[in-house]
Symmetry: C2
Subunit: 129 residues, 2 copies
DNA sequence: ATAAAGTCTATACTTGGTATAGAGTCAACG
DNA sequence: CGTTGACTCTATACCAAGTATAGACTTTAT
């Protein structure tokens, strides 16, 4: 399989696949005689794994940690549980931040719901304070 | 006032102040004979304005739009109201995304609350699917 | 006079990709 | 056999919003 096929199958762009390779997420791949990347089923599986992790907003470093763990099946998985728990807690914190932000913005928006001049704009005056 | 004083007064770092200047958020500043940036009260006010906008997660482009508007006091402020409404709606969308993410992560975390081997880790098996 | 603190510019780095340029490769068609 | 078109290659630059240097210059204090 060449990179274009892999891109179509996985939904990752060609550049993204090369990017993941450079970041060390796609190990030990082969090249054809014409220096083309050659992929097998395993790589597609790996890319889908990465894609799923990314859709959960994990960083590349986190994904790399998970992938490295996968190659050590006899070790304890406690570090994985910890990683997910930490990630979840980060998400919860971010939600709280954004909810506070939302309240501020709603409050500010309410200062100027009509069409006034810039001089009399409740929003700008609020921000200026 | 020199940049170090401004940094202390506003809580922006020296590099950030220079960065904002390069981005066009701090117009027309003077230089001393030794080529040092010279600031007045107005600049500090402007920096605090920027800081408040940034604390509301507005982009630099958005802040620039607001600052440009401030120099046209007789125009309508409808574009400002629109900008804030759009920003608020972006925040709300992001909160919804993160709440969905949170559910997924909680679900995934529940697949493996004990300490198992990597091979048997409910989280990794979930992700692998 | 000299040392320390402050400032200057320019550049590189971060994250997670995206978007080129210019060169090389491969398959099909006439 | 040549050539066109589709594909791939590497290398580089770009985005946001700063942060962090290096090396040179200025000012302040002793």
């Amino acid at each position: 399989m060449k990179i274009g096929d892999v891109a179509k199958t996985t939904g990752c762009s060609i550049q993204t696949i090369r990017f993941y390779e450079k970041k060390g997420l796609l190990p030990e791949l082969k090249r054809s005689s014409g220096n083309y990347r050659v992929y097998d089923k395993g790589t597609i599986e790996q890319l889908l794994f990465i894609k799923q992790c990314r859709s959960l907003d994990m960083s590349i470093t986190e994904v790399k940690t998970l992938m490295d763990s996968r190659s050590k099946p006899d070790q304890s998985c406690s570090n994985i549980n910890t990683l997910i728990a930490k990630h979840l807690s980060d998400v919860i914190i971010r939600i709280e931040e954004l909810n506070a932000l939302k309240s501020s913005l709603e409050n500010m928006a309410s200062k100027c719901d009509q069409d006034k001049t810039i001089r009399d704009c409740g929003i700008l005056n609020y921000l200026h304070t």
